[in-house]
């Protein structure tokens, strides 16, 4: 009798010990200084990167934790993230493109950081559009980090010489550009519409949304083949067929419009602030002859793909609380605004309150903040930023569709059918 009792007690004690040990070494936070792995996009504006780096150093000094930050180019960071998912070493914090948020979430690598989002939102409200972008299944899996809005650059001197004005609508743009190209000195408008570029996908969406079309509907289901979309594609095709845009655009990369505008071969391009920054640093004369206006509007409004970025935390992070603290630290409104101002209008703030700051009053920067605030959209809009719309963007479906019209001489109808088939296939796969 005695023996049985002793055994029972010992067994219970052992179970208790094991249980305590399990809890202690399980999802518990490691006590003591943590080391965080942070992967961010490398900006070509060096000051932007160094400012953020300094933020990390002051966090280290204030808390005693260590932050290993890597600034990586866009294509590389994406490949590294995918490999890290497979090798189970996803970084504690990483900068994620909007179209990859849902994809990484489905892979189970993003932590639920609703508490952090709410805490930051309470201090300074996020733009509502960006808030919805990081919400999946009711949870916040990312913190909006920045946007890269586009605007249209016009050669003021050429417009003035010809008695023209920067276009307000796409139809006006076509008419103005046609007159400029006809004058023979340079092309009126140009944009990449090819595979090596994301600019093509962005511009096609700008025009599609402006005419009332979209890839996905408000519920995230394919709604590609509509009269509005056909109108948009016809419009773009006419720009090439009527020789308003140069023929080479079907193979331009993202640097194509920059190159075209900066070499003064084109009078108008749609681009992020990178062209502005180039002129600011290297060609003040061109800058003086440039006016930057919001993207042209269509019958259904004015839209631009702002390709927002978010910060995500690894669901398997060993220092979840420290990572959240770090995010709250760098996303502090004042420090954040300081970072935004280092970037030379390349990125726009995610906090609604910061859009009226003095920094944006500059006539060259104004159009970018307006785009971010008033006309911003993202892949998948008006639906959620889904994995499917992400893959559609990443595999150049829209650019391939317009090229069927431009190079294979397909009818718009046939090309849209082809595009819809691809979109449906991708959608089905991610359902």
């Amino acid at each position: 009798m005695q023996k049985k009792r002793v055994i029972k007690v010992l067994l219970s004690a052992a179970l208790l010990a094991v249980g305590t040990l399990a809890v202690a070494t399980g999802k518990q936070e490691k006590a003591g200084p943590a080391t965080l792995e942070v992967w961010l996009w490398k900006s070509f504006v060096a000051e932007q990167n160094t400012y953020m780096e300094r933020q990390f150093r002051s966090f280290e000094a204030a808390t005693g934790h260590k932050v290993n930050v890597s600034f990586l180019p866009a294509e590389e960071i994406y490949k590294k993230q995918l490999a890290a998912v497979e090798a189970n070493i996803f970084p504690d914090i990483s900068e994620i493109w909007v179209q990859n948020i849902d994809q990484f979430n489905r892979m189970g690598v993003l932590a639920d950081i609703t508490d952090t989002f709410d805490a930051l939102n309470a201090r300074s409200p996020f733009s509502p559009l960006l808030g919805t972008m990081v919400t999946i299944g009711g949870k916040k899996v990312g913190i909006p980090f920045n946007t890269s809005a586009e605007a249209q650059y016009w050669r003021k001197d050429i417009l003035d010489n010809m008695g023209l004005k920067p276009a307000g609508t796409w139809e006006e743009l076509k008419a103005t550009a046609k007159k400029i190209t006809a004058a023979g000195q340079l092309f009126g408008f140009a944009t990449a519409l090819g595979r090596p570029a994301t600019d093509g996908e962005k511009l096609i969406q700008s025009v599609m949304w402006a005419y009332g079309g979209s890839v996905m509907d408000v519920n995230g289901k394919p709604a590609f083949k509509t009269a509005a979309t056909a109108q948009a594609f016809d419009y773009l095709a006419s720009l090439v067929r009527e020789k308003i845009m140069p023929e080479g655009i079907t193979s331009w990369d993202d640097g194509g419009n920059n190159r075209a505008y900066q070499t003064k071969s084109v009078a108008c391009v749609q681009n992020t602030a990178s062209v502005y920054n180039y002129m600011r640093l290297n060609d003040q004369d061109l800058l003086k002859n440039t006016v930057i206006v919001p993207v042209a509007a269509g019958p259904k409004g004015r839209y631009t793909d702002t390709v927002p970025h978010a910060l995500g935390v690894s669901s398997k992070s060993k220092s979840l609380q420290v990572a959240k603290d770090l995010m709250k630290y760098i996303m502090d409104e004042t420090l954040y605004q300081g970072w935004i101002e280092q970037a030379g209008a390349q990125i726009q703030p995610v906090y609604s309150r910061l859009v009226d700051k003095e920094f944006w009053a500059d006539p060259y920067r104004r159009a970018f903040i307006e785009a971010g605030v008033k006309y911003g959209a993202y892949e998948g809009w008006p639906g959620p930023a889904s994995a499917a719309s992400g893959e559609i963007f990443g595999t150049y479906v829209l650019s391939d569709t317009i090229q069927k019209i431009l190079l294979d001489n397909w009818t718009t109808d046939k090309a849209l059918d082809w595009g819809l088939a691809k979109i449906n296939e991708i959608y089905e796969r991610w359902k």
Partner: protein, 288 residues
């Protein structure tokens, strides 16, 4: 008996450590990839076996055949031209002339340059609006061409860049092969009454044969699996007119995250490469 055994052992000892190391590092990725081709794996998602599903998908897919066709055109054209230009260069560089040492170093530069720089430089040179090539063409009174924008010339552009980068590879290997042929063989041939052409056919070509075979084999495998040139210049565009195997696999497997389906494509093509390896090995290692 003991002597032969020792020979065998020594021979194996000389090669086995390397073999075990290479196999050790590459075995897991290699086998893993082949296994994945029978699954429906996407990056970050759980794996499920689907048998020959991926293989059937590709064999019924017109894109597969287009990309495969482009890859064959790309590979065969560039290998033939790289070999011929490389051989011609090796013969030229074998002669003694003033500036030869400088030239031999200069000659290797296209191969030394990182592909990134080569591709971006050519991108600029071939630019439709501000590229030097079009500038020179218009100065000569000819039409500017949007080289990488037309389905017809896009594949040609990437082929040209591959040849520019690759012919020094053949050139230097073949030059070293020319250098390795002992003078005695030429002397013996001349004693037998052979003229210039006969020396070339009966001494030079056999002397270079093994290296030539190896250079062709290695370059073929590498060219078949080439990535940067197409990725950086055209991304396979316009449409799929310049798309070859690896950029395509990258787009499907990495950007599209369908890693299992993407891996199946190279596996389908393995038989061709394996056959090449098999026959070259026999020709190089056989007794003369």
């Amino acid at each position: 008996m003991t002597a032969r055994l020792n020979q065998r052992t020594l021979g194996l000892m000389l090669i086995l450590p390397m073999f075990l190391y290479v196999m050790g590092m590459i075995l897991f990725p290699f086998v893993m990839n082949i296994w994945l081709s029978f699954t429906n794996k996407r990056v970050g998602m759980p794996t499920r076996l689907i048998g020959l599903g991926n293989y059937l998908f590709w064999l019924k897919n017109p894109d597969f055949f287009k990309v495969l066709g482009n890859t064959l055109i790309y590979t065969i054209t560039t290998i033939v031209l790289k070999f011929l230009i490389g051989l011609a260069s090796a013969l030229l560089l074998n002669r003694r002339f003033w500036g030869r040492n400088f030239f031999r170093v200069f000659f290797l530069i296209p191969w030394i340059l990182p592909s990134l720089v080569t591709c971006f430089t050519w991108r600029w040179l071939l630019d439709d609006l501000v590229g030097v090539v079009n500038y020179l063409l218009t100065r000569l009174g000819l039409q500017a061409v949007a080289w990488m924008s037309r389905p017809g010339t896009a594949l040609g552009s990437v082929i040209a860049v591959n040849i520019w980068r690759g012919f020094p590879f053949f050139g230097i290997l073949l030059l070293a092969a020319l250098q390795s042929i002992p003078d005695e063989l030429y002397d013996a041939a001349r004693v037998d009454g052979a003229g210039r052409l006969q020396c070339f056919v009966h001494v030079t070509i056999p002397g270079m044969r093994k290296i030539a075979l190896i250079a062709v084999l290695l370059s073929t495998i590498w060219t078949f699996n080439d990535f940067e040139i197409v990725f950086l210049l055209t991304r396979g565009g316009p449409g799929y007119s310049s798309m070859i195997l690896v950029p395509f696999v990258y787009e499907i497997g990495i950007r599209g995250m369908q890693i299992a389906r993407a891996i199946t494509f190279p596996v389908l093509v393995f038989p061709v490469l394996l056959a090449l390896i098999f026959f070259t090995s026999r020709m190089v290692l056989r007794e003369d």
